[in-house]
């Protein structure tokens, strides 16, 4: 349970930069997340953490944020 610098996830449903923006905003508004690198074409998202929240809890929070924005975590 060590804090990881980043968590890689795949987000489904993003079609353009607007979507990526929504996902990024939802993620950065979440405690423990510093930022996100998003590739719309593949859906690959690298979530950058700030180490303040345990990785396990962060995974739930990421899922919640992405789902709340209207996308799904594969």
């Amino acid at each position: 349970m060590t804090a990881t610098p980043s968590i890689d996830i795949t987000v489904q449903g993003m079609t353009c930069e607007g979507c990526a923006g929504k996902v990024r905003r939802a993620l950065t508004a979440t405690d423990g997340i510093a930022g996100a690198e998003i590739d719309v074409a593949s859906g690959a998202v690298k979530v950058l953490t700030d180490g303040t929240v345990p990785a396990d809890d962060l995974e739930f929070a990421i899922d919640e944020a992405v789902t709340g924005a209207g996308y799904t975590v594969a």
Binding site: D56, D57, E59, F60, A61, I62, D63, E64, T67, T72, V73, A74
Partner: protein, 769 residues
């Protein structure tokens, strides 16, 4: 049955005629037929489409479509091809109905125009006839000038109907109007001509009487055609329910009518499926509620059958068309509705039934009066005066208002009570309803899934509750109605990640802290077959629920697989044990039981009708107190059930909400649609219950009885006042003032009596939201 040429409304007056053609093997066949058709007299241009097997011909307007269709058939047969006996498909029916609607609109405009003109001319006519101060020299000629167009032109529809009825030796309300008004006008004209020669000096003229009768009856007629116009109808609503185009696999968009059996088309999520077919690729939950009234979407995969007009909610499908045009389920429903509606006995107008007896009696009395005066040695002029007066006074001008006024007030009151009345027939049908048939899903029940019970095994209540909260949290991520029902019923939420749907109707996700010792656990929710082991106490609950026609959903936990979710690593995992059971069901509306006892108090037999299995149906029937259940009925057979009840001598009211109920609603003597249902059901019905509260159906039936009573009262008094004046006329003491008083009194009574309907309290007490 002969092929009906389909008429498409067109910009010009020339309507294209379309026929199906069989026997074409290639496009050169089509060209041959096209050549043959374009050489016909009166044809502007012809097109024959090989793909759709249709020949369409546009006329130059010199020939009527029926004749053209016959010529086309002959030509096609001559060339060696066949014209199938086609049954009109939904679209053709819809077009036909659109033409009816246009004709209705024209009738309304016509009556409005005639009424307006009649009213404008009648007002000054009454003034000069009734107020001596206004009577200038020769005013009677002015009265003739004013009255002639009113009685002649404005009243023409009544005279035309009278002539039509007379051909069948029948007398209707129109006969009475014609008799009274023409007698008044003819006699008055004779009198003023006589006045000019110095004869009949003290004889009254009745110009205004004839004009007032025409005006008031026109007012009633106009109100009536306005309320009975079928502004919308079931067939057109059905047609608008369908996709207008279909997208082929290569992305080409074609008209739905151009689809042929065997073609493959693609449906995107949320799109209406264009026609009936078999799924050849893809998987989706299909929402068939529009067609079947079933609230739960059905998953279809490759090989599954889908029905045109349903919606694939969550996936793309490639479908091979198996039925098109008039063969599809929706087209069949359209035909059934159409047949049921046209096969319905026309409601015998009460006013006409009275007139059938009254008219001959009046003519008899008039002749008797004439004979009586002559026999007692009076002059011919006096005898005629009295005989004509009898005819004039016997025409109750309130007659025209008696029915439409009561219906208008009844309709208005119904609207306040949440019952929309579609046409006047619904309230004027004298045939007393004896049996009420209730569709189950969406009518007696809510028509959507609700969580009925949830129980979980666990070391203690806290653990059990946590597990159920976990289930609700996972289900909240799913779009399925059952999942939504579970999620909506429990407020508790736990963090969820890695949600995914499982093959075999279920979902799984990792939920925070619900595992042993507060670890995360994967929670699986779904059908029995997802579980390796189902303990007895859970099995018992599930079986009991299924016996009542309810749905049981199981849930269980398993440790999070090592290596994270979805790595595909074949970790040895412990067997998945069901630890919770949630029972979901379409529950009975809270008001249904009360409604059923209300129907009983109205003296109706209550029948529950459903396509569901007998167990589920019986459970609902027991809950609301219905004894007679007809279950497992295919959608197409619902109308048949109504018909067989009618054959037993019952007068059937039917309450339903789905497109599949439409034929039964149209077949019933009184169709009531639940307003929360489909527009097609509403259009096929006589009445719509806006709220979906079944108790309003009891109100509706009580209201239609009260309205009918009011119509009867109105007719009685409309005739009574005038009949009371008949002896005065017979004895020669009638003058226009008395005639006007009788008319005024009866009209006032009819208005007052109709307004009493506004006080109709409804079946339910005043406590209504």
């Amino acid at each position: 049955m002969t092929a009906t040429p389909e008429l498409a409304p067109d910009a010009g007056s020339a309507l294209p005629v379309t026929l199906s053609v069989e026997g074409m093997t290639c496009s050169s066949c089509a060209a041959t037929i096209q050549g043959g058709l374009s050489r016909l007299d009166g044809v502007a241009d012809a097109t024959v489409n090989f793909a759709t097997r249709r020949a369409t011909v546009r006329t130059d307007g010199t020939i009527d479509p029926e004749a053209l269709a016959d010529m086309m058939r002959a030509t096609i047969l001559e060339l060696g091809y066949q014209v199938p006996e086609q049954e009109a498909d939904g679209d053709a029916l819809a077009q036909e109905h659109a033409q009816h609607a246009a004709a209705d609109a024209a009738r309304i405009a016509d009556f409005r125009r005639r009424f307006t003109v009649a009213a404008v001319l009648t007002v000054p006519l009454m003034a000069i006839s009734m107020i001596p101060a206004l009577q200038f020299t020769g005013w009677e000629w002015a009265a003739l000038a004013l009255a002639t167009p009113v009685v002649g032109w404005a009243g023409w529809p009544f005279h035309r109907a009278t002539i039509g009825a007379a051909r069948h030796r029948a007398t209707t309300m129109d006969t009475l109007v014609t008799l009274g008004t023409t007698a008044a006008w003819t006699w008055s004209t004779v009198v003023i001509v006589a006045h000019a020669t110095g004869a009949l000096a003290h004889t009254h003229v009745y110009f205004e009487t004839g004009a007032v009768i025409v005006t008031l009856i026109l007012l009633g007629k106009w109100m009536e055609v306005r309320s009975s116009a079928r502004a919308g109808d079931a067939i057109r609503a059905l047609s608008s329910r369908q996709a207008s185009t279909a997208t082929l696999e290569d992305g080409t968009v074609i008209e739905r009518s151009a689809l042929v059996v065997g073609m493959r088309f693609v449906t995107r999520p949320g799109e209406i499926i264009a026609t009936d077919g078999t799924v050849v690729d893809g998987e989706a939950a299909v929402d068939a509620s529009l067609v079947t009234g079933e609230s739960v979407p059905v998953r279809v995969a490759v090989g599954g059958e889908v029905v045109g007009g349903t919606v694939a909610t969550d996936g793309a499908l490639t479908i091979e068309a198996t039925r098109v045009g008039s063969e599809t389920m929706l087209a069949q429903i359209a035909r059934m509705v159409d047949q049921a509606q046209t096969g319905r006995a026309k409601v015998q107008r009460l006013a006409d039934r009275v007139a059938r007896i009254f008219v001959p009696a009046v003519i008899g009395l008039s002749l008797l009066t004439l004979a009586g005066w002559l026999v007692t040695g009076h002059g011919v002029a006096d005898a005629f005066t009295a005989a004509v007066a009898v005819l004039i006074i016997s025409c109750p001008c309130a007659l025209g208002l008696a029915t439409p006024l009561a219906i208008m007030v009844g309709t208005g009151r119904g609207a306040q009570l949440g019952v929309l009345v579609k046409g006047p027939e619904a309230l004027e049908d004298t045939r007393e309803v004896t049996t009420i048939v209730l569709d189950k899903t969406g009518t007696v029940t809510e028509g959507r899934m609700t969580l009925v019970s949830a129980s979980a095994a666990g070391a203690d209540q806290v653990e059990a509750d946590a597990l159920l909260d976990a289930v609700a949290s996972v289900e909240a991520r799913s779009e399925h109605p059952i999942a939504q029902a579970i999620a909506a019923a429990r407020a508790g939420r736990l963090p969820v990640k890695g949600f995914r749907a499982l093959a075999g109707s279920g979902v799984v996700a990792t939920v925070k802290g619900v595992g042993a010792d507060g670890a995360n656990a994967e929670v699986t929710v779904g059908s029995r077959r997802l579980f390796d082991d189902v303990p007895d106490e859970i099995e018992d609950v599930a079986r009991a629920a299924e016996r009542e026609g309810r749905t049981a959903v199981l849930a269980g936990r398993s440790p999070v697989a090592v290596g994270g979710v979805g790595t595909g690593a074949l970790a040895v995992r412990p067997p998945l044990v069901a630890e919770a059971v949630l029972v979901v069901s379409d529950v009975v509306k809270p008001t249904s039981r009360e409604a059923v006892s209300a129907f009983r108090e109205l003296g109706l037999d209550v029948v529950l009708l459903t396509g569901d299995n007998a167990r589920a149906a019986q459970a609902v029937a027991d809950e609301v107190g219905i004894e007679r259940v007809i279950a497992e009925v295919l959608p197409a057979d619902k109308a048949e059930v109504v018909r067989s009840l009618q054959a037993e001598g019952a007068r059937v009211a039917m309450v339903g909400d789905g497109i599949n109920d439409a034929p039964a609603l149209a077949q019933a003597d009184l169709g009531l649609a639940v307003g929360t249902g489909t527009d097609v059901a509403r259009e096929a019905s006589d009445l719509t219950i806006v709220s979906g509260d079944l108790r309003a159906a009891a109100d509706a039936i009580a209201l239609s009885r009260r309205t009918l009573g009011t119509i009867r009262g109105n007719l009685f008094w409309a005739f009574a006042y005038n009949s009371a004046a008949i002896p005065l006329a017979a004895f020669g003491v009638l003058d226009p003032m008395i005639a006007a008083a009788a008319m005024g009194a009866s009209s006032l009574f009819v208005v007052g009596n109709s307004l009493r309907l506004r006080g109709f309290a409804g079946y339910r007490s005043a406590s209504r939201g």
